[in-house]
């Protein structure tokens, strides 16, 4: 898969483990937002400063993050159904996810 340096499935958990966070107690939704490459290959360059919004099962805002330079984002949610809304100049994508505790939900979102 062509990813231009982005990690498929979102950021490594190493930084959390280094901080002593017990990942098994967390319900993590994370991923990477990618733009299609110029050559039409999916999963092209990381989309830095896209905005990823987390909505609860009732559609209410819960959190929002800009993606980092690698196009990555990470939320600490609770188990259940969530909706992600990704916004970038000229683009808006909605995606539903089901999160579980202890096993990060890893996403690759292409704009």
């Amino acid at each position: 898969m062509k990813t231009c340096g982005a990690t498929p499935g979102g950021p490594s958990l190493d930084d959390l483990l280094a901080k002593g966070l017990d990942v098994t107690t967390q319900t993590i939704i994370q991923g990477v937002v990618l733009r299609d490459g110029d050559d039409g290959v999916p999963n092209g360059t990381p989309a830095a400063s896209a905005y990823v919004r987390l909505l609860d099962r009732d559609g209410e805002f819960t959190a929002e993050l800009p993606t980092n330079l690698q196009g990555e984002f990470r939320f600490f949610a609770s188990p259940g159904l969530w909706t992600l809304v990704v916004q970038a100049p000229g683009a808006r994508i909605e995606q539903q996810v089901t999160a579980v505790q202890g096993i990060p939900t890893d996403l690759v979102i292409s704009l």
């Binding site: 107690t25 987390l54 609860d56 970038a88």
Partner: protein, 277 residues
């Protein structure tokens, strides 16, 4: 009229980038994004490093605020434009803070960093060199700030507005979902508080909704705006956003921000707590 004195559009900022009367300040809890790119001419305040006392939990002193603004080249008569990420949470916190210390002309960039970026407007990476001033602040105006004892006294009597997400209000989450869920406070909310999330007042691009929509959000939730209102969240920045909506956009005079918020209240021994919707 209220919007004109406390809110500016991205178009207005773009036209005033070289206006010497205007000082643009990006405010956030993490200023990494400022380093990666910001509006031309903007300086930055870090919510933690610049606006928190650091030793005790409080705002910085009047003297430190004067030093901060003086070295930043902000004069008493400057038009200060505040913006940031996080849907302007920390920018509106700084707005409330500027009003605490009596700054006359301070305004929010509607939509903040997000609207600017979604419009594909340019950012620069160079920080401006500004000439130092001698800023003189006023004594703190605590009429727009609520303290813990006042909040406990307000239970069942005044409007308590919890502007956190529904998941935090009910006790499902301990913090906004971009933070790890290991917090020192108990979960839940202040009894009799109404949950009116800050996000209800904002469009998806981070700009404020219309005055009519804003008024309906609070009145529709059963808040009598003629009665005194105290807004709170987790650390006082999202509630500063809602305080800004009520005080600056809707012209509600009897509204205060409880900046101690849930990180203080949820740690108080013996303080009553409610859970669920």
């Amino acid at each position: 009229m209220l919007r004109q004195s406390s809110l500016v559009t991205a178009e207005w900022v773009a036209k005033n980038l070289n206006n010497p009367q205007v000082v643009i300040v990006e405010v956030d809890e993490d200023t990494t994004l400022y380093q990666q790119g910001h509006i031309e001419g903007a300086i930055t305040f870090n919510w933690r490093d610049d606006l928190q006392d650091g030793l005790i939990r409080d705002l910085i002193s009047k003297e430190k605020f004067e030093v901060l603004l003086s070295k930043s080249g902000i004069s008493n008569d400057s038009t200060v434009i505040l913006y940031g990420g996080n849907n302007n949470w920390f920018a509106t916190y700084a707005f409330w803070y500027f009003k605490i210390y009596g700054h006359q002309d301070v305004r929010i960039l509607d939509g903040g960093r997000k609207r600017w970026e979604l419009d594909a407007r340019p950012f620069v990476t160079s920080a401006p060199a500004r000439i130092a001033t001698r800023y003189v602040a006023k004594e703190r105006d605590n009429s727009i700030r609520a303290f813990r004892d006042e909040v406990i006294t307000a239970i069942g009597k005044l409007n308590l507005v919890d502007v956190r997400s529904p998941a935090e209000f009910t006790g499902e989450l301990a913090a906004p979902a971009h933070l790890p869920q290991e917090q020192g406070q108990v979960k839940g909310h202040i009894p009799t508080a109404k949950n009116i999330p800050w996000s209800k007042a904002a469009n998806e691009d981070g700009t404020f909704k219309s005055d009519a929509e804003l008024k309906e959000i609070f009145i529709g939730a059963g808040v009598d705006l003629a009665t005194e209102t105290i807004a709170y969240c987790r650390i006082g920045e999202r509630s500063a956003f809602s305080w800004f909506v009520l005080h600056e956009l809707l012209g509600v005079t009897k509204v205060r921000n409880y900046d101690g918020s849930w990180t203080e209240y949820g740690s108080l021994v013996g303080a009553p707590v409610a859970v669920g919707a």
